[in-house]
Symmetry: C2
Subunit: 185 residues, 2 copies
Amino acid sequence: MKDTQHLYEKTISSQTIYEGKVITLKVDEVLLPNGHTAKREIVTHQGAVAVMALTDEGKLVAVRQFRKPLEQVIVELPAGKLEPGEEPLACAKRELQEETGYQAKDYTLLSSFYTSPGFANEILHLYLATGLTKGESQPDEDEFVEVLELTLEEAHELHRLGEIRDAKTVAALFAWENRLLHGKK
Amino acid sequence: MKDTQHLYEKTISSQTIYEGKVITLKVDEVLLPNGHTAKREIVTHQGAVAVMALTDEGKLVAVRQFRKPLEQVIVELPAGKLEPGEEPLACAKRELQEETGYQAKDYTLLSSFYTSPGFANEILHLYLATGLTKGESQPDEDEFVEVLELTLEEAHELHRLGEIRDAKTVAALFAWENRLLHGKK
């Protein structure tokens, strides 16, 4: 790996502004590589998983839900926050079953990525899940989701209409199309 | 579009916790569809752009920079925040030139997506830029970036090594591979 020490910012001080249930906000003062100082607003988050679950018929399992920050109902991959100490794969299995009722025989990690590295440390582990069997969903008491099964064409149409419009689901659409172009179902 | 009113959460009250330079944090109390109440921690952000710029030789223009929330140097697409009132396309052109020195003849919007819809309203407009010509970069005084040009193979290797690990750049890698599988350069 390339030496990158000359790009680093050194923390001078750190102030916690808010500690919430989902996120914590802190503001750090940093020393820049040129000797100047700057403030960095930083949201910390425990991390999350998302599951690109494909049925044997080649359909994507998705959920429709309201997202308060957007004041919109959107269609997304099943996803959820890691519980303290929880392994990402265990979280993926739990969230897929709770939200959609599906269980999967095979899980493959496609990528682990930071959702918004400019201001947040949230990491999202994106899994492909295949070999699905359908059971009953068990959403949290205060969780309201509708389960959908989409062909690639239907998913593209929802993307064009702006109903699919979050990073993990858009990334999954591109990955799914790749998979099909490579001749996989 | 499907009727989704039954999924909505109604705002009961909203409290602004912090107004920063990049983000604002508020906490809303909401009425859920089942009549319960809940708190929603919400980060608001002015939105951003990212550019998947491909050279005539078929290489991806990327930047290596330090990200304080991650305490890591990572490799990403050129990107930046929208200025007040700025059109996303104008922002894309500005950020590509400032960070990398490149100008592009052709821009195509690939997707506009929310980076983390569970707690933030940040939207990111992802453009494909082609027909590149190279000039001088003009980074902001307090911005420290190194410009790279990567083959798809090199980009995949950086993804495997964990140096490419943010949502927009991973989404772009999948989209780039699609493009090549479709026979485009």
